[in-house]
């Protein structure tokens, strides 16, 4: 049988076998074991620092080039689409009107023309309000070698073009397959282990094991995205008796927070792969998944949340009160449903560093799969989490 294989084939199969061995060792040694134990080699920090140096060099090149050719590099940051008059703001004008009305000695000033000011201000706010601005991605000030995040891109010099092409090759041919395999391995391991732990009887050992398995799963997911997360104010980390609320920018917000401690997630039960993951998670740790029909019943939702929070052995519930993904420059008005339970609230703030990759999901522009692909072919996901002091209803 061997004599039918040419020497080239033999060499190729030997080479493949060796590289698979190396690959498995690397993955196991550098990813899975640290993920289980919770240690980090610090590779990512060096990686991000190197990237920053390269970006600064690239920006310097662009600036020098722009000076030579004498044209504008950065677009002016526009403050809106309508030219707002620099006269008094709406609140000041209302206060003015009402203050003169309060003084009994002076005749309150009012004439029929006052209505014009409020009319125009009202129209201006309809055309150019602060809410719509929150739903488009932030514009970067310097270029990070990702064409999609700089609207000003044009051909600057051969050096930069070569750098950009190199960047594309590295991102799509090296980083992307690596990350996808890590993610697949991680999710597979997670589902298997979580189901296995679910068979154990409900004891302290089982809780400890399920926490470890969950944390491993989350850490692997974060590493598959090359995530570098810095936690601040760890003394305010949520405890088992309340809910944790955070701002919502991406679908992976939950994983970023859960990298530090386990939470119970709330959400609708989906079908397909996501549903399978959800069911596997629920086997070993008490998450709150709702059937489609139950979601509309507010009292049922509130009751389940209240029961969960009352049990000390269960993890805090993670809730995103904004209800939708926002572009990480401001916070939308919270929906009050989650706060009606009346327990301790642990706020957390997540801020993404968009120099390494824009994590904002604009659901009208791309679907979930396209979004994940874009995320996995960015340089890294760098973010900071601040734990804010816990609050109670007065």
């Amino acid at each position: 049988m061997d004599c039918f294989m040419s020497p080239a084939d033999e060499l190729l199969s030997q080479y493949l076998g060796l590289s698979i061995n190396v690959w498995l060792t690397l993955v196991f040694g550098f990813l899975i074991v640290p993920a289980v134990l919770g240690v980090s080699f610090g590779i990512h920090k060096y990686y991000t620092r190197t990237l920053l140096c390269i970006f600064e060099w690239a920006t310097l090149q662009m600036e020098l080039n722009a000076q030579e050719k004498n044209h504008q590099l950065y677009r002016h940051y526009t403050n809106g689409i309508v030219s707002k008059m620099p006269d008094s703001t709406l609140r000041q004008e209302i206060q003015d009107l009402r203050r003169t009305a309060d003084c009994l000695s002076l005749e309150p000033r009012f004439d029929l023309a006052d209505v014009f000011f409020f009319c125009r201000k009202g129209l201006e706010s309809i055309l150019d309000d602060d809410v719509t601005k929150c739903f488009s991605a932030q514009e970067l000030e310097s270029w990070n070698l990702l064409t999609r995040s700089n609207l000003n891109f044009r051909y600057i010099s051969l050096k930069l073009l070569a750098l950009w092409v190199l960047g594309v090759v590295i991102r799509y041919c090296v980083l992307l397959p690596f990350r996808v395999t890590v993610a697949v391995t991680g999710i597979f391991l997670f589902i298997v282990l979580s189901t296995v732990v679910g068979f154990l009887p409900s004891t302290k050992l089982r809780r400890y094991l399920s926490d470890t398995v969950h944390l491993m799963g989350y850490r692997l997911c974060v590493r598959s995205l090359s995530g570098v997360i810095t936690y601040h104010n760890r003394e305010n980390k949520p405890k088992n008796d309340g809910i944790c609320v955070a701002n919502h920018t991406t679908p992976i917000d939950g994983i970023i927070l859960a990298n530090d401690r386990c939470y119970s997630l709330v959400g609708q039960l989906h079908g397909g792969l996501l549903g399978m993951i959800q069911r596997a998670m629920a086997k070993s740790s008490p998450h709150i998944w709702f059937e489609r029909a139950e979601v509309k019943d507010r009292h049922l939702v509130a009751k389940r949340l209240r029961d969960h929070v009352a049990d000390e052995n269960k993890h805090p519930v993670l809730i995103f009160p904004e209800g939708t993904c926002v572009n990480n420059t401001s916070v939308m008005m919270f929906k009050k449903g989650s706060f009606e339970i009346g327990c301790t609230v642990y706020p957390a703030a997540i801020k993404y560093d968009s120099r390494f990759g824009d994590a904002f999901w604009n659901s009208s522009q791309s679907g979930l799969v396209g979004y994940l692909l874009r995320l996995m072919s960015s340089w890294a996901i760098v973010c900071s989490v601040w734990y804010l002091p816990p609050m109670n209803r007065k």
């Binding site: 526009t78 809106g80 689409i81 309508v82 030219s83 709406l90 609140r91 209302i94 009107l97 009402r98 009305a101 309060d102 009994l104 005749e107 309150p108 009012f110 004439d111 029929l112 023309a113 006052d114 209505v115 014009f116 000011f117 409020f118 009319c119 125009r120 201000k121 009202g122 129209l123 201006e124 706010s125 309809i126 055309l127 309000d129 602060d130 809410v131 719509t132 008005m333």
Partner: protein, 155 residues
């Protein structure tokens, strides 16, 4: 922001409009008589009132169909903010309502009433204790309506 058809709730979600004393009335101005939805064309029609008046248009003779952003039409838009029942007259009650919205609750009803009476007295020429559109225009003839009721877009 704008989907094909908008309802009142979509406008009421804007926080700056919620604190504007005339917010509800401005929203009403977008909706044609008795309807609950406004489409893009209707939206643009209302917005067209606020187009700045070009210099070369001021000197032209008024054409048969006056453009929506003429001075008269801008004044008519403002008049309709007062005149809720569309009877082409601002009655004392309607004026009181707008006054109450603009100056708030700290002022007594009597004082408000006297301000309203004084305003009507100054404007009313035919003695019917209401302000008609012609009287409204006469009172505001010195006011620079074009500048106050125009919105300029940045490029």
């Amino acid at each position: 922001m704008f989907s094909d058809i908008n309802s009142r709730e979509d406008f009421q979600r804007i926080p700056e409009l919620a604190i504007n004393p005339l917010g509800d009335r401005i929203i009403n101005a977008f909706f044609p008589e008795g309807e609950d939805q406004v489409n893009f064309k209707g939206f643009m029609r209302t917005l067209a009132h606020f187009r700045p008046i070009e210099d070369n248009e001021k000197n032209k003779n008024p054409p048969a169909n006056e453009p929506l952003n003429s001075r008269t039409n801008k004044l008519l838009f403002a008049f309709r903010l007062y005149d809720l029942d569309r009877d082409d007259k601002i009655s004392r009650d309607e004026l009181l309502q707008v006054l109450r919205m603009m100056v708030g609750v700290n002022i007594s009803d009597d004082q408000l009433g006297s301000i309203a009476d004084r305003t009507i007295q100054e404007a009313d020429t035919n003695g019917d204790s209401c302000i008609s559109f012609q009287e409204f225009m006469k009172v505001l003839e010195k006011v620079d309506v074009e500048q106050k009721m125009s919105i300029r877009f940045l490029h």
